[in-house]
Symmetry: C2
Subunit: 226 residues, 2 copies
DNA sequence: GGATGTGAACGACTTCACAGCG
DNA sequence: CGCTGTGAAGTCGTTCACATCC
């Protein structure tokens, strides 16, 4: 609707060199990072694109293309220095520093996330909890006090949280998300099965568990047929 | 590696008409389905591609292309009948029947999934629980007994579970997955942060929470810069 | 008029294939 | 020789634009 008409979308000259960093590639960066971290501890100080590809189920060319976005840190005939590669990945992913995280909705999912060691390991620190249930407010979960929704603005500001995990019921999600945005949160990881409407400057990643399970059912169903 | 060389991968004739159903499209099917179900209850008996697109943040052309995979069930000048569209989506997703699901690893994440109403609503029924912790074995969670890992073969067979949710710690994941496969499971939804190696005939969907949070950090980081 | 269905254009991502260099 | 880095080719998915039909 209301897009451009005919010739329109011409870009600079030819196709140049610089391709943009694709979203899919960013997901693989996390994969590389997690896979490399044990290597560093085990003293594997060099890794080839072939090895990474095989162990992660990718092609070697793709691994090299991805890593090329981090700069020229490989050595021809040898491979990539594990240490440098990890550092470059962390920098590129924006996790070469600590991120403070708020959690809205303290149910089982939130508790699972609170105990998940992977977050802390990658520099994510959960600093604030919120729940609408009066029975939860004031209680402590994993050492953190649960706050009422009307404390969002104050507590988010104090805690320095920039990211939020949204684990409230579907019908409350949009309202709570709006509150988080008003409180100054910059990005939301949404677990509620609804499509959130947020201002453009707020980043959003959605994880929908029912959709994943449906995808699995589809694949199995398909496997059974042709 | 060890791929084909030159001419290789030729496909039937030209490019014909039939395009394959993309993975991304399947994910959107779930989205459409969830969005449409309330409409049916509210008596909205027709819906246009434009409306769906706007409410889900897509383009109308994409919605039409997706729905075209389900057959020609729209009426020009009118839209799609909600009821038919829902039925076609469920059939295509393979959820026009019940799926029995086993859960391996009864931690907080599993408990969250057990309570998640969206699963049951879409025809997924959790029928068996497993955990390696002796303190859990024999206890009941949400009405289901927790079984020891060595009962996998017997219980999976009895319960008729075809899908499994894998919510065990990373270092146990591959071993438990192998056990699930040996027990006759046909698809695994993996929450452990490892890349599983499975036989080709077993379907796999992976949900990695740390990766999602890292994506969010990347987006926020990027938004802050250029 | 209004909305579907769809070839064609477009753009994004992946793989190929090889030059370049340690 | 082995492995990286990268244009070029290929594949896949999305958007455009319009014929078509109620």
């Amino acid at each position: 609707m209301a897009r451009q008409k005919g010739i329109g979308t011409r870009r600079a000259a030819g196709n140049g060199g610089e391709t943009r960093l694709s979203r899919a590639a960013v997901g693989r960066f996390s994969l590389y990072l997690r896979h490399l971290e044990p290597f560093e501890r085990e003293g594997v100080d060099t890794v080839s694109s072939r090895r990474l590809a095989q162990e992660l189920g990718l092609t070697d060319a793709q691994v090299r293309k991805d890593i090329a976005f981090l700069g020229s840190l490989g050595h021809r005939g040898v491979g990539y220095p594990t240490r440098d590669l990890i550092a470059a990945l962390r920098r590129r992913l924006g996790i070469d520093r600590q991120w403070n995280v708020a959690v809205a909705g303290v149910g089982n999912l939130a508790r699972a996330l609170l105990r998940y060691r992977g977050f802390k390991q990658q520099g994510f620190r959960i600093v604030a909890l919120f729940d609408a249930d009066p029975a939860q407010i004031g209680r402590r979960v994993e050492g953190l006090e649960v706050h009422a929704p009307d404390a969002l603005g104050r507590i988010i500001g104090q805690s320095g949280a920039e990211l939020a995990l949204l684990t409230v019921p579907a019908d409350a999600a949009q309202g709570v998300a709006d509150g988080l945005v008003a409180a100054g949160i910059r990005g939301i990881l949404n677990f509620a099965p609804v499509v959130l409407r947020l201002p453009k400057h707020i980043s959003l990643v959605a994880v929908d568990l029912a959709i994943q399970l449906e995808q699995l059912a589809f694949l199995v169903d398909r496997q059974g047929k042709g």
